[in-house]
Every structure is written in C-alpha cells, then in structure tokens.
Symmetry: C2
Amino acid sequence: MARKIGSHSNITGPLVRAAAQRLIASQGFAAVSMRQIAAEVGVQAGALYLYTPDKQTLLFDLMREHLEDLLATWGSAPKPDLPSNQLEHFCKFHIRHHLARPEAVFIAYMELRNLAPDNFRAIEILRHTYEDELESILRAGDKSGDFKLPDTRLATMAIIAMLTGVNTWYQKGGRLSQERVERIYLNMVRRAVGA
Amino acid sequence: MARKIGSHSNITGPLVRAAAQRLIASQGFAAVSMRQIAAEVGVQAGALYLYTPDKQTLLFDLMREHLEDLLATWGSAPKPDLPSNQLEHFCKFHIRHHLARPEAVFIAYMELRNLAPDNFRAIEILRHTYEDELESILRAGDKSGDFKLPDTRLATMAIIAMLTGVNTWYQKGGRLSQERVERIYLNMVRRAVGA
DNA sequence: CTATGAATTGAACGGATGTTCAGATATGCA
DNA sequence: TGCATATCTGAACATCCGTTCAATTCATAG
C-alpha cells in the first residue's frame, strides 16, 4: 500500500472547520480570533496554519463547501417531469437542506462582505447557479401555462428569500413540524406563481 | 433667549452616526474601528466619546433609531378600511421604506449578534411589534374571508422575508422601476394569501 | 476684550490581533 | 530500535483595538 500523507490518525483539519463554523456563525467572522478557534479545537493558534493558509481562506472554504454541497445534493436528486412537481421538489428540498445546516447557511449569507474580492466573485457565481435552477423551473412552468408570472426573475428572488427566511425563525420542537412548514410554504409558493 | 447647550454650530454628532452607518453597513460592526469612524468624520478617535458612551451603544442607537423610525412612519400613515387595501398599503410601504435606507436595514438585520443581551432584547421587541402590524392585517383578512391562510404567523414571516429580500438585489436604474417592483411583489403576495 | 465652558487633540493604557518559525514532541515504518 | 516526518508548541513580531484624560483650541456671551 502506498504511503498515505497524514497517515497519523489526524482529524484536526475537520475539527478546525467545525469549530470555525460554530464560532463564526455565532459571533461573526471579524469578531472571532484564530486563538479562539484554536482553543475550541484544543491546540495553539500556530497549529491552525497547518490546515489553512490564512483566516480569509478558512472563511472562503466554509462558504464554498456549503454552496458546492448545496449544488451537488440538488444535482444528484432525480427531477420530476412537470413544472408543478419540480417546484414542489425545489421548495421542500430548499427548506430541508437549509434547516439541516443553519450555521453554514448563516455564514454564507452574512459574511459575504468579509470575502476578498476574488473570493466574493467565486461565491456569487455559485449562488447564482443555484438561483438559476429555480428560475429555469419557473420559466418552464410559465411557458407551459402551469404558472402565470409577470417576471420570472423577480419570482425567483422572492421565492428564495421566502424559503430561506424559514431559517431565521424555525425552531425544532416548536409549534409546527418541519413537514407542516414545508407544506404551508409550498402552498403559498404555489399560489404566488399562479399554479 | 436661554443659553442653548451646544450653541456652537456643532454637527459632529449626526456626522458620527452617518459615518458609522456607512462604514458598519459595508464592513460590519466588528471590522470597523472607532479610529476609522473618526477619520471619516475628520476628528480624532477620542472625540467620538463626546457623542456616544461606547462603541456598543453607537450600534444599538443606529438600530433602535431605524426601527423606531420604521414604526413611527408606519403608525402615522392613514390606514385603509379593507384588509385587501391594508395589505397593499403594507407591501408598498415596506418595500419603499426599506429601499430608501438600505444601510440602516442591512445593519438592523446583520448586526443583531453584536448586540449586548439587553440591547438585543430591546431590538427584538421593536422588530416583533412591526411584524405584528402585518400579522393583524392578515388575521383580519382571514377572519373576513378576504384571505385564505392556513397559518397567519407563517404567512407574516414569509411575506416580510420576501419583501425585505428586495433590498438584496434591487438597484436603482436597473431593469425595473421601483413602482413596477412594488406592483409585481404585491401581486405575488396577494395570490400567496389567497386574496 | 475677556471669561467661560464646550469641542477637540494627542498621547497613553493594557491587551488582542494575524502570522511566522525554531524547536520540541509524537507517530508509524524499516 | 532508530529514523523520518507529520504535528504541535510557545514565544515573538509589528500593529491594531476601545477607551481615558490632561492639556489645548475654539466659539460665543457679557
């Protein structure tokens, strides 16, 4: 067997990402220091630089991985035929995927302004790619007559804002189950697009 | 004439708030230093403490004033009679008011976690008060049969998220006029609530 | 013009920041 | 066992942070 790099049973790398995600989500990127992250992992600050070239890249990697995960998961799911069913699939997927990783979602939305310009552009492309997935569903439905939309781009932005907004108030074990929330939101979305 | 306090033609106070708002909106509270704000105003850092007891209070005041302005402006506008007209009034008001002060809106949404606990609670009360204004419209419309809503609280959160989302993409001089955006969003909201 | 008090400076305080690196430690393979 | 290398420490670097305050400048009232 070829010698593996990092053949020690080292898991510090993932721990660093997890601690950084937790801390940045709760305090904000600028307010979290490398020493805080290191303390959470149980190492000294200098050791973090074995796993990231700098603090900025750590943030960028968290956001990029979140969006790549979002796109990959969406892309690997089978697509229904009819626009109406595609819309249902998207709504439920979006709520479910976002509620399952609130910290990553929070960071991806709140820390955009802390990205260096090149990193910002890369993240914006990924986000736009995801938005286009919904927009193409709406466009197809509008064309087929299943939906009635004065402006598909605005409907796209409106629906994504609405669905992502669930993350700001939903609490597991609250008044409504996640399935019920999904159904109620889907119902509102359906009516909003004239389905 | 009684001697006025600050009878010098001093406008530094408002300038401090304006500079702080501009800088915090673009870089984030934790990333902006008192020295940066002072430089923007054209004074030394120490002078800022004539206008705010500390950095935390400066943030709190910005957010509180934004929400008090929102509630006061909303409260002073005449209310239509029918729920359907009230909903139209709210949608147009919300989009217009928020698009007119994007920096204050941005700060009020993004910097909540940088508030000290007491300040956070105070801001949350103001925000909830505003949400209740929409919720009572929806409740009245649901009762009167003008709207058909499975859950007024969820509809409230969904609509506010949708409307506030305009701030993330709207650009003056873009493809659509503000009035057209207001109309399209109102149309989607009306359908979403079953009006 | 002078006295008064508001407005501001500029230096200083202790401490935190991201990052680097020589040296120490731990691990797995020969 | 001994060697190579991955992992980590702990101190150091220059710089920035929020905040305080004695000293100074400034504008106005009398």
